[in-house]
Symmetry: C2
Subunit: 491 residues, 2 copies
């Protein structure tokens, strides 16, 4: 709490790293690339999980759990899938340690070598489709609508807390369907669930689109995504939903008897979001004073700080505050009364500002006399003194207002940082200048996309789902184009 | 659903395996010893998680998340700990695969060998105490009351769904304290939480006790446990709570500045329960017709089956049922209305019996005319026809009654199968005959304990916490003993 955070303007990256650390969200562990998610950071994840899990269940999905380990040979079954994940796999080769001969610690027991190596799951399509093979015989067994909350491992070389870590927590939905149409519908339905969650809970506007071939999930026919914009003008892929076609059904021989009496491969989807969302949440809203959390995902929505000089004053304030706390709790507001006498009010104010608690109520003896309370908003840093009567209603309405106002601010920023350009010079100028999303014509070839990426470091984030068709010429090659796509530098 | 389950009397083990499979709780995966927890089984785990998580939070704990991997050298820091876990560790040695030279699949890339092997966590004391080292400087940083919901891996050779699997899901609490007294108090508090959960939610009576040295957690000073009795007379260790003393603080050099100005090692506890509880839940209550689930943990508490001949009758019943469903839902009852016209009522009855749904309501056209409903209890298999008026109240009271009655039945069984004996012959006779817990005098030596184990296959489950002191002589050695301990064959 001693010195100020780095400023976003000066060093966005240092600001992010310091904020994650000082707000006690997460830290690097002694294991390369693996993070420790601290209680405050984990409580945000619990809020995310709780909200998403309800949305999944409301759309007919159930949770299940599949093995952490995947036999090496399974990964190879789907050619593109293995190509996509082979380079970043944690491999289990042995199942026992033994005392070392020099008496210092333990060594791997060479006698305990596995016949086939096991891969720590980077994603679970293979092990799940191998299971679905036994669950599906007929169209009556379909659809299967299953989700899993789990940890996965991808051996990333450059890691960053929440945004890119070797181990991360996520959910992965894996569904199986009798028809292509139904699978595509599911893919898009879950994309909508993600977009709704991002907007309504995270207060983070997103573009919905489909990835180009270069950026597609390894093994998918189509990858749909939601893309958010961070305050430094870089994009963040916040969730993906894949239409898998019959690829994994073919790789694992999953056929079903159709209603019409035939035999067909099963159609599949998969979709996921991860602890990366916490990184997005931080970068979308927070300021140089610390976190700004949308009330719907804030572990503590309201903190009450007593302003007192002695123990006697505590008793007076306690008495006044107790019924107010009860009223707020009965409305489902998460409220914390910080009575610690080891820290001064000013220190507490700074701490809750850093931790992004949406509303702070300060109550001193004079407030008790006047039946008032000082209410401070974290998002605007504004204060007002209001009556204690109906404070619970006031708090409810302020929390709604904050949720909405954070979203509107992010939306305005996103819209102001979405630029249409018609030439390659303009594209580069925007990317190197104000940043953000840039809509430009592209000729549809992976080669052009790759060259633009190498020259500008920007990728095609997606082709917008609701983008109008508009004839034009590719900003890079001058060849004809049917519609604009969205470029951006990205996390 | 075709043929009957094996009978418990004839083959308890086959009955268990078949029940787990047919009730769609879990199945073996293609990965040795790792299970797939199917949606219905997982929904029981979600109920267990939800209830326990609330109890942990109500006692001041927060959740966090620590890395899946533990550097090999960490395990060795605590001598007994490594001895306990080295023989069953999954070891990650490489971080990349590459295409094999013969073009068939992938092989481990020898260039991508880790400098230090990583162990897939069998339990997290080491990686957590290594983290706590940075979190704790002074008594002001204590206590730390953290829990983690996670998967762990212990390479068991003989596995059994839920009861003993290579990978399992669990929670592990890890707390740090300034004094021995406080740590012991925490250890016992969490043991009480487990006992309360087992009794009040699982309807499963347990003995609370402390383990002998032989059965202690590797690295603990004392291991406390709850022990339940299964219907075949075998015991199941259902949860453990460890007083770690300063063992892990010493191993990871975790010291703190005391209030008095000194420097001391931090005191620790750890405690856990796992998906094994689901195995216990099944074996404690279920019968030859299938699962019997206590209402508090049943994913579906009430199922409504319409008894109809044609679509028109459906409409009549729907109309009558809709407000009843709403009333039950508003009371928090989990109710499922099974309208499928692909299955006959009799088939559905058998299915919900197999799946242990506590109450089944059947409604036909005559019931609609008479304003009645047939209510069937899963635990007693009794039926009664009752009025539809206030059916929600009736259901509430029946669910409470079932919860209580399942517990009382299990308690009676447990008490009838707890036998005091005074000679070794009697001990063997009971163990080989009626089974269950046997209270006998023991001389307190690991040698005697080990011999009894080899000769009878029974272990000392625990020394009861509330056992009275009573002088006697060891049933095996004839040496003096201070109190009786509990022997049983166990899972």
């Amino acid at each position: 709490m001693s010195k100020a955070l780095p400023k976003r303007e000066e060093d966005y990256s240092a600001w992010y790293n310091e904020l994650v650390k000082r707000a006690e969200l997460a830290e690097n562990s002694a294991v390369r690339g693996c993070m420790v998610i601290k209680p405050y950071g984990y409580s945000i994840w619990e809020k995310i999980q709780g909200s998403l899990d309800k949305m999944f269940k409301d759309t007919g999905h159930s949770n299940a759990y599949f093995p952490l380990f995947i036999p090496k040979s399974y990964l190879s079954r789907e050619a593109k899938h293995v190509e996509g994940f082979a380079k970043e796999c944690a491999v289990v080769t042995h199942y026992r340690l033994k005392a070392s001969e020099d008496g210092n610690g333990v060594v791997v027991d060479p006698q305990a070598k596995l016949e086939e190596e096991l891969i720590v799951r980077p994603t679970s399509e293979t092990v799940i489709w191998n299971t679905y093979k036994n669950w599906i015989q007929s169209y009556r067994d379909l659809p299967i609508l299953v989700n899993q909350w789990a940890n996965v491992v991808r051996w990333e070389m450059r890691t960053r807390l929440f945004l890119r870590t070797a181990e991360f927590l996520w959910q992965e939905g894996h569904t199986a369907h009798a028809t292509k149409g139904e699978a595509v519908e599911e893919t898009l339905k879950m994309l909508d669930v993600y977009a709704t969650f991002a907007q309504d809970y995270m207060a983070m506007p997103v573009y919905k689109g489909v990835k180009t071939e270069n950026e597609r999930f390894a093994g998918a026919i189509d990858t749909y995504c939601i893309e958010a914009l961070m305050q430094d003008g870089k994009a963040l892929q916040a969730g993906t939903s894949h239409f898998l076609g019959q690829n994994f059904a073919k790789a694992f021989d999953v056929k079903f008897a159709t209603k019409e009496g035939g035999l067909d491969w099963v159609w599949g989807t998969s979709w996921g979001v991860s602890t990366r969302l916490i990184g997005g949440l931080i970068m979308a809203h927070s300021d140089d004073n610390g976190l700004i959390l949308p009330p719907k995902l804030a572990p503590i929505q309201v903190v009450i700080v007593p302003i007192v000089k002695d123990q006697e004053q505590y008793a007076i304030i306690d008495e006044k505050i107790a019924p107010i706390i009860e009223k707020m709790k009965s409305r489902g507001i998460s409220v914390h009364y910080d009575k610690r006498d080891t820290h001064k009010p000013g220190w507490k104010f700074a701490e809750y500002e850093l931790k992004g608690v949406p509303l702070r109520l300060a109550v001193g003896p004079r407030d008790v006399d006047n039946n008032t309370v000082e209410v401070a908003r974290r998002d605007t840093l504004t204060k007002e003194t209001v009556s204690m009567d109906n404070i619970d209603e006031k708090v409810m309405s302020l929390l709604e207002d904050i949720q909405n106002s954070i979203y509107q601010k992010a939306l305005k920023y996103r819209n102001e940082h979405t630029t249409e350009v018609d030439t390659y010079d303009q594209l580069r100028e925007v990317l190197n200048g104000k940043g953000g999303f840039v809509k430009a014509h592209w000729d549809g070839t992976p080669e052009t996309e790759e060259r633009i990426k190498q020259e500008t470091k920007a990728t095609i984030r997606c082709i917008l789902l609701d983008e109008k068709e508009e004839k034009g010429t590719c900003v890079y090659s001058g060849k004809p184009s049917k519609q604009r796509v969205i470029f951006a530098k990205a996390y």
